[in-house]
Symmetry: C2
Subunit: 170 residues, 2 copies
Amino acid sequence: MLTELEGAILAEVSYRGRQTTFQVRKSFADSPSLEWKGSAGAVYAAVNRLHKAGMLSTHATGDRRATKLLSVTPAGRTAMMEWACDPHRAISTGIDPFRIRSGIWLQLSASRRYKALTTVREAAQRDLQALQNYARKKDTIERASVDLAARLQQMRIHWIDECLKTFAEH
Amino acid sequence: MLTELEGAILAEVSYRGRQTTFQVRKSFADSPSLEWKGSAGAVYAAVNRLHKAGMLSTHATGDRRATKLLSVTPAGRTAMMEWACDPHRAISTGIDPFRIRSGIWLQLSASRRYKALTTVREAAQRDLQALQNYARKKDTIERASVDLAARLQQMRIHWIDECLKTFAEH
DNA sequence: TTACTCATGTAACAAGTTACATGATTTA
DNA sequence: TAAATCATGTAACTTGTTACATGAGTAA
C-alpha cells in the first residue's frame, strides 16, 4: 500500500510528465504544510522504492550529472488510482494541528483565550490571502488543492469567530 | 519543541487530571484519524521523553502492576501552552489526504470522475453522521475537536458537490 | 476458573527529518 | 570566473508503526 508521499510522487510525475526526482522535490518544497517537507532523504528513498516496485521507470538523459527522468508505468498508474480513490483513506481527517489544539484554547481564561484566538485568526487570515494569491498562478487541476487549503483556513476563521461571539456574550 | 503527539499527551493529562499512560493511549485509540494511531510504542516512548524532560511527573499507586499516574508539571504546562498557541504551527495545513488527492480526481474521465467523487462523497457523509453522533457524548471542550472534524467533512462534501455541478453542465 | 480488561513495556521495522557531500551546468 | 542552480545521493537521527510478551485485577 502506497504512503501519502509515494502517492503524491506518482501523481506529480503523472501530471507533469517526465520529471527528475529533483524537480518533484522542488514541487513539494513550496507545499503549504509544516508537517510534510518533501525532504531529499524522503523523496529519493521513495522514488527508489517505487522504481524497485516497478511503478516508476527511469530514462537516462546521457548527460554527465547522471540525470534520470522518471515516468509512471502502467502498474504505477494502477496503484496510484487505487490509492487516490480508496474512500476510506481519502476522507481520513489526517493530521490537523488546529483541530488538535482547539480544546486547549477553550480551557484558557477569558483574556488569554481572546488573545490566543485573535492571534491565530490573524495568522490564518494572512495565510488565506497568500493562498488566494498563489492560486492565481495555478491551473484548474493544481488549483484544486490550493483551493481546499484556502477553504480549510476559511472554516477555521469562521470557527474562531463563533467562539469569540459565544464568549463575548458573557 | 514538542511533537504533535507530545502536545496532545500533555493536553490530555492536563484536561482529565491524573491519568495512566494506558488511559491516555485509550483516549487516542478512537481518535478519528488514519494517520495517527497513538500506538503503544509511540505513546509510552513519548511519555518517557516528557518525563525525562521534566514535563510530566509520575506517582506510583503502590499496586502490584506498577501503575503510574501521570500529571503535568509547571514546566510541562508552559511548554504545552507555547505549543498550543504558536500561530505558525496552529494554522498549518497539516496532512490532508483529501486535499492531496483532489487534483487526481479532476484529471479522471467524466464517468470515472463521477464514480470516484460520489463514492468518496458517500464515505464522507457516513463519517459526518458518525461524528455528529459521537459529539453528543462529549462535553463542550472535547466536542470542539469533533466539531472541527465534522466541519471538515462538510466542507469536503460541499467541494465535491461543486465539482459535480461544474462538470454536469457539459 | 476462564475470559476480559488494565497496565506496563520492548523489538524489529518503516518512513520521515536535517545536514552534508559531490559534481555538472548555467547565468551574471 | 564566481555564484547560483540543477541533480544526485548518503548518514545519523527521530518518531512513528505493528506485533508481541508479561502479568495483575475483575466479573461471568
